[in-house]
């Protein structure tokens, strides 16, 4: 495990004009290079389609492989991961994917970004993070934790059980890019002109279930709608300019600490 000074590194990153703040993939011992936010984002899209069905959203659903912990059965370097993606592993459930080099690089970038180093959380103070969450960050205006706050956005009471620090930080700095596509806001207009907005909870061919902006569980029949849109953006602002690096580290620490009830 490579040890490095997270705060210092972040400071460097943030002061580099023109470079996205979300250069997050931490170089591991076996990691051969760093990756850009664009590569990670591109890789995430590919991962969700190609890899998630077997490996799961956190890359931990195949026995012996946990991408959050950087654990693999047969590979360690970036080139080896890329090679396994290209060639598959005969005799196992891992098929070959004939993807171009750039796509495989993006996938490796995303897989590396999943790795939980613990450093971001370690650099922050969860209690100060809670104060920011409930105060300056105004997060409770949209989110809910342990029965307090709004229902406009996702309830975060156990977010630390399903997301690592890197993913949480991406959500704070670049929310539009980091919101999981499954957690989309929707806008529906009925044939009588009523507009309904909210967070989609469930959908089938004929109906959609959502929690609307005022916290009501609503079920809509699609045949009653003249417009139904999945919004690809999020009303959540980026906190890149709103909070200091330390405050973001504190906030991430707090979110990581939210594990739900035991």
């Amino acid at each position: 495990m490579l040890v490095y000074n997270f705060v210092l590194m972040k400071r460097c990153i943030y002061t580099m004009a023109g470079l996205s703040a979300a250069v997050l993939a931490v170089p591991l011992a076996a990691q051969q290079r760093s990756y850009s936010a664009a590569e990670i984002a591109s890789g995430k899209q590919l991962f969700n389609v190609q890899c998630q069905p077997c490996h799961g959203p956190n890359g931990d659903q195949v026995t012996g492989i946990d991408m959050r912990k950087g654990e693999f059965k047969r590979v360690s370097t970036d080139d080896e991961i890329s090679g396994v993606i290209l060639n598959g592993i005969p005799g196992t459930g891992m098929p070959p994917f004939s993807l171009p080099d750039a796509s495989r690089t993006a996938l490796v970038a995303y897989i590396r970004s999943l790795h939980e180093t613990g450093t971001r959380a370690a650099a922050g103070d969860a209690e100060r993070g809670r104060e920011i969450f409930e105060g300056k960050g105004e997060c409770l205006n949209c989110h809910r934790v342990e029965g307090r706050g709004s229902r406009k956005g996702p309830d975060l009471s156990d977010i630390g059980a399903s997301r690592n620090a890197a993913a949480l930080e991406r959500s704070i700095l670049d929310p539009s890019d980091a919101i999981p596509p499954q957690q989309r806001l929707v806008r529906a207009v009925t044939k009588t002109g009523t507009v309904i907005g909210g967070l989609r909870l469930n959908e089938d061919t004929h109906s959609v279930q959502l929690i609307d902006d005022s916290g009501r569980l609503v079920s809509l029949s699609k045949s009653d709608l003249r417009e139904y849109t999945l919004l690809k953006t999020t009303p959540m602002p980026s906190y890149q300019e709103k909070l200091s690096q330390q405050e973001i580290a504190d906030l991430v620490s707090y979110l990581v600490s939210l594990k739900g009830l035991p």
């Binding site: 009471s157 044939k191 909870l201 009501r216 569980l217 079920s219 809509l220």
Partner: protein, 538 residues
């Protein structure tokens, strides 16, 4: 279509928190089903009347919810402003759109492997207050859930599952408290009913169903038998806001079939107890089966009825008991008003003036075995009865002619282990039927009985070939809904018992039917087999 959209919106617009005041007045919102038994009086009677004896033949299936679990599906849903809350085994809660059965969210609590329920890893439902649901779990926890998201808010330990404590029933919310009892009467627990603060989960009061040293009733247990004497409380109680009393049924003393080491009446086993809702202090008790050796839990739904009794206004408590007798009590005092058998029984020769059963000397358990009517499952059991204030009849889902051959064996207590003191063999034709049912002349059978509480007479009987574990629902249009092991879901005429409609659901109904309305449509729902079925008029 516009109309449907408006209905959908209307369901959303009406959404408001379920205040304790709303729980007090379910008659103001008959479209909803806010508590396990439909109201604090637990009559399982609905004011909805769109479905009538005339049009019930037009009922058709609206949607089906298939459970993931293959356990018995015993849930009674709650419906709050178009959202239905159910629990499938063991502790998997779903919020469904009540019109379509589509899920808003689910919460899958995995109880500890230490849990050791006697009779199935089941759950019968949740309670609600505000925007919070309350779930009792198989490993004896009480969990509060956000009704909008299913996220858990707090979890409280009610009992130790290693010692046999478990929870299978829907809690009862009274004011700001959540009240639950425990199961575990086959494991030598010391039963209790306890209340928890709805906001925090902190224990507010605890009533032990077996009095401790120095408390009245403690003398009804010999030696130290009280300490592991069972007496669970594994079904939802009822509440009278005027008297501020909570009514709960209690279960068998342990060991179930051998009373030699627990001489005495074994209070408050097999009893109705009336508890102060704020403090849990006992106001009165009525013991149906003193010194029980037949497993005749008084774990039935206490049904509260206001009316006249022999010309005088009375607040009554009506109770069809597992021991085979139907009782009417004064619920302010616990005074016995009347009792009458509703099934074949031989363990008792009748009730005395105070309602105490006179024991039959030929029904004493012994090592050689003795034939007892009814069997341990009783004349009825936990299956919800119904009372219609229109017909003034009390509807009992009953077992007729069941018997057991009870052999007494030594019952030694060991923590967390079965503590039974007897062996049970069928007394006659079996109560468990296979996939092919071949009943004989004297087979036991299930029946919905219409009991006239004023006379103790059965006004009509709807007889089934197999037994029943289904609850009963009545409505303001004088319909009665019930099922049975054969999987038929019936609509009967509540006044005559005539069969008006039936639908095979392909699996035993082991839950209580309920009804609700979304928009302008009345729905009727029941769980059968491993699925929940919802009907409405076509």
């Amino acid at each position: 279509m516009k109309f449907l959209a408006l209905i959908a919106l209307a369901a959303g617009m009406l959404t408001a928190q379920v205040s304790s005041d709303r729980l007090l007045h379910p008659d103001r919102e008959p479209q909803n089903w806010l508590t396990y038994s439909g109201s604090y009086s637990s009559q399982r009677y609905s004011l909805l009347d769109q479905i009538t004896p005339q049009n019930v033949k037009n009922l058709e299936l609206q949607w089906v919810f298939q459970a993931r679990s293959l356990e018995k599906f015993e849930t009674t849903p709650l419906v709050v402003d178009g959202v239905m809350y159910i629990v499938e085994a063991p502790n998997h809660v779903f919020a469904l759109d009540a019109k379509t059965g589509r899920s808003f969210w689910d919460y899958d609590y995995r109880p500890s492997r230490d849990a050791r329920p006697c009779c199935g890893s089941v759950n019968r439902g949740v309670a609600i207050l505000g925007d919070t649901l309350f779930l009792g779990t198989l490993d004896a926890r009480l969990i509060a859930l956000d009704a909008k998201s299913g996220k858990p808010l707090w979890k409280t330990e009610v009992g130790d599952p290693k010692l046999g404590y478990t929870i299978t029933h829907a809690p009862l919310v009274v004011k700001n408290k959540v009240i639950v009892g425990v199961a575990g009467g086959e494991y030598g627990i010391r039963g209790f009913i306890a209340a928890y603060d709805a906001a925090t989960g902190k224990e507010a009061w605890k009533f032990y169903t077996i009095p401790g040293p120095g408390e009245p009733g403690h003398e009804s247990w010999s030696a130290d038998s009280w300490a592991h004497g069972g007496v669970p409380a594994w079904l939802t109680g009822s509440y009278d806001p005027e008297l501020n009393l909570v009514y709960w049924g209690t279960g068998n003393p342990g060991p179930d079939f051998n009373g030699d080491k627990r001489e005495g009446d074994n209070l408050y086993s097999d009893s109705a107890v009336a508890l102060d809702a704020d403090t849990g202090k006992i106001k009165w008790h009525f013991q149906f089966t003193p010194h029980d050796e037949y497993d005749y839990d008084a774990v039935q739904i206490p049904v509260l009825v206001d009316g006249t009794w022999k010309g005088t206004p009375r607040k009554m408590l009506m109770w069809a008991n597992r021991n085979g007798y139907f009782y009417v009590l004064d619920r302010a005092t616990g005074k016995f008003l009347s009792g009458a058998p509703f099934t074949k029984l031989n363990w008792s020769t009748g009730l005395d003036e105070a309602g105490r059963p006179m024991r039959s000397s030929s029904a004493e358990p012994n090592a050689q075995g003795v034939m007892i009517y009814p069997n341990l499952f009783g004349g009825t059991n936990w299956y919800s009865p119904s009372y219609s204030p229109r017909t003034h009849l009390f509807y009992i889902p009953s077992w007729q002619d069941s018997s057991m051959n009870l052999g007494k064996v030594a019952g030694d207590f060991s923590p967390g282990q079965r503590y039974m003191g007897g062996t049970i063999r069928p007394g006659g034709p079996p109560t468990r039927r296979g996939a092919e049912n071949t009943p004989v002349e004297n087979s036991n059978y299930g029946a919905v009985l219409a009991m006239d509480p004023a006379t103790g007479q059965i006004k009509w009987q709807f007889k089934m070939t197999d037994l029943t574990a289904s609850g009963v629902l009545t409505t303001a249009s004088d319909l009665l809904f019930a099922g049975g092991r054969e999987g038929y879901f019936y609509a009967l005429d509540a006044r005559t018992g005539a069969e008006l409609w039936k639908q095979s659901l392909g699996g035993s109904e082991e839950a209580g039917p309920m009804t609700y309305r979304v928009g302008d449509k009345q729905y009727v729902t029941i769980a059968a087999g491993h699925a929940l079925f919802t009907f409405a008029l076509r």
